[in-house]
């Protein structure tokens, strides 16, 4: 039996444009209103695996989401985990976190590998870690 056959592709420059920023959409469907004053701004540095750590106890002015988040990340926790525990979509998490980063309530530990080729020392560390599994 012969398996089906695929056509190879090459890397190309014309990737689909990213979705327009939420703040500039004409008729955005606002599903969540937990955002701070301006939900349209997004911190482009926040990744699913950015580690978030609380810097302070929840201030009296904190929203319920902020208080819950601060209790969760007394130890480092990724944005993805926060999103899962708080049951908030990732895009909403970035909005909430951007406000909290600005307010100095949390810090982000995010020296994420964003190079075209990953750092070999990191790859070696990961390999070593996997071997212990």
């Amino acid at each position: 039996m012969t398996p089906p056959k695929r056509q190879r592709r090459e890397p190309h420059e014309h990737l689909p444009p990213p979705p327009a920023p939420a703040g500039k959409q004409k008729n955005p469907e606002r599903l969540f209103v937990v955002a701070g004053p301006d939900g349209g701004e997004r911190d482009g540095d926040l990744d699913l695996v950015t580690l978030i750590v609380a810097r302070a106890d929840p201030p009296p002015s904190a929203t319920p989401e902020q208080s819950a988040l601060l209790r969760l990340c007394t130890a480092p926790l990724s944005v993805a985990e926060l999103s899962a525990y708080l049951n908030l979509p990732f895009s909403m998490m970035t909005v909430v976190l951007t406000d909290m980063l600005t307010a100095g309530l949390v810090t982000a530990r995010a020296p994420i590998v964003r190079q075209a080729v990953a750092d070999r020392s990191i790859l070696e560390a990961v390999m070593h870690g996997l071997q212990k599994l």
Partner: protein, 206 residues
């Protein structure tokens, strides 16, 4: 003044907390069609019970999903399961399992951006499901390996046949695996890491 809010959010169990020394995290994306075993693979190697994060499709789905202009506009929710492996006291690895259709990918702002690489999980009963996934990764320049999850009733092909069918370059590893087994899933990840290491070595000679 130590009262608690009535809606305390369940968080990680104490043993699931990362050490305070955790400084950086890296990610690997496991991509494949529905039912191919992505979540099983994540779960078999993760140190935490796999978690689910969700994203909602609103503007991004217009022109893709036929819900534009509909009176009962409902947002499509897409879920992604992920797990975690602590590599060192400082470094954490996250594994994300994501559906193959690209319309789901760009919901996740930068899911592949900064990822070490990807595992394409394939099922020989539905090999063509992998075609588009592989093509998209090639276009984006995301390094990947192909792991064939061996289901008992699935046709078996030689690696050379799979390579031809998937039109993969000679250097791209193809491995068989049983993602229910931790060692097998671990070996797939190791194959990816060795491949990435070879790429890194080739591009930045000592």
């Amino acid at each position: 003044m130590d009262f608690k809010s009535s809606d305390v959010v369940p968080g990680p169990r104490t043993e699931d907390q990362l050490p305070h020394t955790a400084e950086a995290a890296v990610k690997i994306v496991i991509v494949g069609g529905f039912g191919v075993g992505k979540t099983t693979m994540v779960g078999s190697v993760s140190e935490i019970k796999p978690l689910t994060t969700e994203e909602t499709m609103t503007q991004a789905g217009i022109g893709v999903d036929d819900n534009y202009g509909s009176d009962t506009k409902t947002a499509t929710t897409v879920a992604m399961d992920f797990g975690r492996i602590s590599i060192t006291e400082q470094l954490v690895l996250y594994l994300f399992g994501t559906p193959g259709q690209e319309r789901f990918w760009f919901l996740w702002n930068g899911l592949f951006e900064g990822a070490l690489g990807a595992v394409v999980l394939a099922d020989t009963r539905r090999l063509e499901v992998s075609f588009d996934v592989i093509g998209r990764l090639e276009e984006r320049g995301v390094p990947f390996v192909v792991a064939v999850n061996t289901f008992p009733d699935a046709p078996r092909y030689a690696v050379s046949e799979l390579r031809t069918a998937l039109d993969l370059a000679e250097e791209i590893p193809i491995v068989e695996c049983d993602v229910r087994r931790r060692a097998s899933s671990r070996d797939v990840l190791m194959t990816l890491m060795h491949f990435l290491h070879a790429l890194a070595t080739a591009k930045t000679p000592v």
